[in-house]
């Protein structure tokens, strides 16, 4: 393909070759927006709804942006880990490496008008919402240049302008807040949705089910996104988390596949705007 063609045509010393290749590689691929179709690796499993198609449309530009963003997130988290071990980041530091596909896939499916709220594992989600590395590291190290002026720390990243609502320390408390964001979207009639992310610790919290009940009752456009963390067998009687909503539809997605996440989020947004929580 274009890649190998470029490689063979680049000339120069062995020393400069990788640099030249890297430099000349970037331009032709990244600006192409021709659609490419990809199949998700694993089919979707559903609860009370029809699954979306496994065929996802993407483009070389999007592919490269996925790669760039995910690589940045991974490197960032590893760097944060080193800083934490060097005691330059104090308190708690919850890392997102390994889950980058979720953040990146979600961003690809939605706009900045939609709201995202998550718990304390928020570094990469913040980056995905438009945060800069400088803001992130400043905040982690308690500096004024941080996104919360150094007053929040690892668990309290927010970016109001891009609809990122944090960043919360207490497990599960962000889910009712997320339903409140969805309520505000419905109140303001702005055709946007709220994504409330949580893990399996929060999945056993009463307030989650309370919030789900109210959201279903009031048809709020909220999407509850669950990701793994605690050992299933230790804490949960029913490990089928996507079915736990009972009367609320659910979708099981392979979180390692950014395309599946993108498709699922697009589907979920349409569903939430039409028929309420999912």
């Amino acid at each position: 393909m274009a890649l190998s063609h470029l490689k063979s045509s680049s000339s120069g010393s062995n020393f400069l070759k990788p640099l030249a290749t890297a430099f000349s590689l970037r331009r032709p691929i990244s600006t192409s927006t021709d659609p490419i179709t990809v199949e998700t690796s694993v089919p979707f499993t559903t609860h009370r709804c029809d699954p979306p198609s496994r065929t996802v449309e993407t483009s070389p530009q999007e592919l490269l942006s996925f790669f760039r963003d995910m690589a940045t997130m991974r490197r960032m988290e590893i760097a944060a880990d080193s800083l934490y071990k060097a005691k330059l980041i104090r308190g708690f530091c919850h890392l997102y490496d390994g889950q980058e596909a979720v953040a990146v896939g979600m961003e690809a499916a939605i706009t900045k008008k939609d709201s995202i709220i998550t718990a304390y594992r928020d570094h990469c989600t913040f980056l995905g919402r438009g945060g800069t590395l400088l803001e992130i590291f400043s905040e982690l190290m308690g500096r004024q240049g941080g996104c919360s002026s150094g007053k929040g720390g690892s668990m309290h990243f927010y970016k109001k302008k891009s609809g990122f609502y944090g960043g919360h320390g207490i497990v599960g408390a962000q889910v009712p807040l997320g339903c409140g964001l969805a309520f505000a979207h419905k109140y303001n009639k702005d055709d946007a949705v709220a994504f409330a992310l949580y893990g399996d610790g929060a999945a056993n919290q009463g307030q989650l089910f309370e919030a789900l009940n109210i959201s279903a009752l009031w048809d709020l456009p909220v999407i509850l996104v669950y990701g793994m963390g605690t050992a299933e067998w230790r804490a949960a009687k029913s490990p089928s988390y996507y079915k736990r909503g009972d009367y609320v539809p659910g979708l099981k997605v392979d979180g390692m596949d950014a395309f599946a996440v993108k498709q699922a989020c697009k589907f979920a947004k349409e569903h939430a705007l039409k028929s309420g929580p999912i």
């Binding site: 709201s115 709220i117 941080g146 996104c147 919360s148 002026s149 150094g150 007053k151 929040g152 720390g153 309290h156 927010y158 970016k159 109001k160 609502y165 944090g166 960043g167 919360h168 320390g169 207490i170 408390a173 889910v175 009712p176 807040l177 997320g178 339903c179 409140g180 964001l181 309520f183 505000a184 979207h185 419905k186 109140y187 303001n188 009463g206 307030q207 309370e210 919030a211 009940n213 109210i214 009752l217 009031w218």
Partner: protein
């Protein structure tokens, strides 16, 4: 028969009656007009006894309780004559709250109310009556019994710019939402580096009622006072109830507005024109020279009753309703301490860790040199509120105790 209470601004002492002589106070016509409205709500009788009937039918709780002391100051002359001559209009405290709420909802489309039974039922104390019909289901929201989550939802909505008013059916139920109030409501403004303001108002009735039992007679102001980032106010008259409600809704900070179960039926004449009360100001109820009595909410009425006795005995107490529980209005309090040099705090909170305890510390820290005697703080007993009426009475500060305390303080 509703008790009439005239506002005590401007320093006029309340005219108080004993339990014996007030039968002529209220005319039958008042009672009839109330029943015509087909509303059943707790009624404070002229002799101080109360029928507590939170939102139930007329038949249910019409018991006459002879043991209750005068909870509310009453006016000696008849109320029926006073309607037409003065400006303003008369209403009950819950109506004043509703008026304030309605005016703010008219003024700002972002204001919404959420709570249990606030919508179609009209509110368990009728504060939101009629609002659901007027503004629709999206602005007056009936929630299921899920305090933790609907308080969280209110806060989430406030983060985006809406101004929700979260009603706890009883303040005690908000303990279930303590996490949301403390961690999210109080702290989000700070932890987000100022990006978000949380203009939420959390309100509800609290305090010791009439034999409601321990769990429904809680005073949450002492638990909430340490939460950084929130403001607390307590209303006590229809005038300040409406004013504080409006100010709280307009404030960009989270405000907790404490109402009292027994004060919802106080009647007062309030101005027709729009007004708001300052959230951080105290109210001078009765200027005096001998002793400063600081109080708030229902205890204001016990204090005014005791004040009547004290005046007869020759004392001149200065009574201040502190209204703002967090932060304290140390300006007015300080000026008063500098004048009288003696402080008595009368509160309904528990002795340990209550508002009185904080106020004592604040006054001692700031005005120690002006005090001629140690600050005396009269609070409720550190016990769960008993069901039996006699026992319940003894856990709360009574006017006789206030009189004794002042006498001892002024020796």
């Amino acid at each position: 028969m509703a008790t009439i209470f005239q506002g005590l601004r401007g320093g006029a002492a309340a005219a108080l009656t004993n339990s014996i002589d007030s039968k002529k106070l209220l005319s039958r016509s008042t009672r009839r007009s109330l029943s015509e409205r087909k509303v059943s709500f707790p009624v404070v009788r002229s002799d101080g006894s109360v029928n507590l009937n939170p939102g139930g039918s007329n038949a249910r709780a019409r018991r006459v309780d002879q043991l209750i002391t005068n909870a509310v100051a009453t006016k000696a002359d008849s109320s029926a004559a006073s309607s037409t001559s003065k400006p303003g209009h008369e209403l009950l405290l819950f109506e004043a709250l509703r008026e304030g709420l309605e005016e703010e909802m008219d003024r700002d489309p972002h204001v919404c109310v959420m709570g249990e039974d606030v919508g179609h039922y009209g509110g368990s104390y009728k504060v939101t009556r009629g609002l659901a019909d007027k503004y629709g289901d999206l602005r007056v929201l009936d929630t299921p019994i899920a305090e933790n989550s609907f308080t969280g939802m209110g806060i989430g909505a406030a983060m985006t710019g809406l101004r929700p008013i979260v009603e706890g059916m009883n303040m005690g139920f908000l303990l279930l939402a303590f996490n949301q109030i403390s961690n999210n409501c109080g702290m989000l403004h700070y932890t987000s580096g100022g990006q978000f303001t949380i203009p939420v108002v959390i309100r509800g009735p609290g305090g010791v009622g009439r034999q409601l039992g321990a769990e429904h007679s809680q005073r949450l102001e002492s638990y909430f006072q340490s939460i950084p980032g929130i403001q607390m106010v307590a209303c006590s008259t229809p005038y300040n109830a409406k004013g504080l409600m409006k100010a709280a809704i307009r404030s960009e900070n989270p405000v907790i507005l404490f109402e009292h179960v027994l004060l919802y039926n106080l009647k007062e004449r309030i101005p027709d024109e729009e007004y708001i009360c300052n959230l951080e100001e105290a109210e001078m109820v009765r200027p005096g020279e001998h002793v400063t009595i600081l109080t708030y909410s229902r205890m204001r009425y016990h204090v005014m009753q005791a004040a009547k006795t004290l005046v007869n005995k020759g004392y001149d107490p200065e009574v201040i309703d502190i209204r703002s529980l967090k932060p304290f209005d140390l300006h007015m309090i300080g000026n008063s301490v500098k004048k009288t040099h003696r402080v008595l705090i009368v509160e309904e909170c528990m002795r340990t860790g209550g508002i009185g305890a904080s106020l004592t510390a604040a006054i001692t820290e700031n005005f120690h040199d002006y005090l001629d005697a140690p600050i005396v703080c009269l609070s409720s007993q550190d016990v769960p509120t008993p069901y039996a009426g006699t026992l319940e009475e003894w856990t709360v500060v009574q006017p006789a105790q206030i009189v004794t305390a002042v006498e001892q303080l002024c020796q």
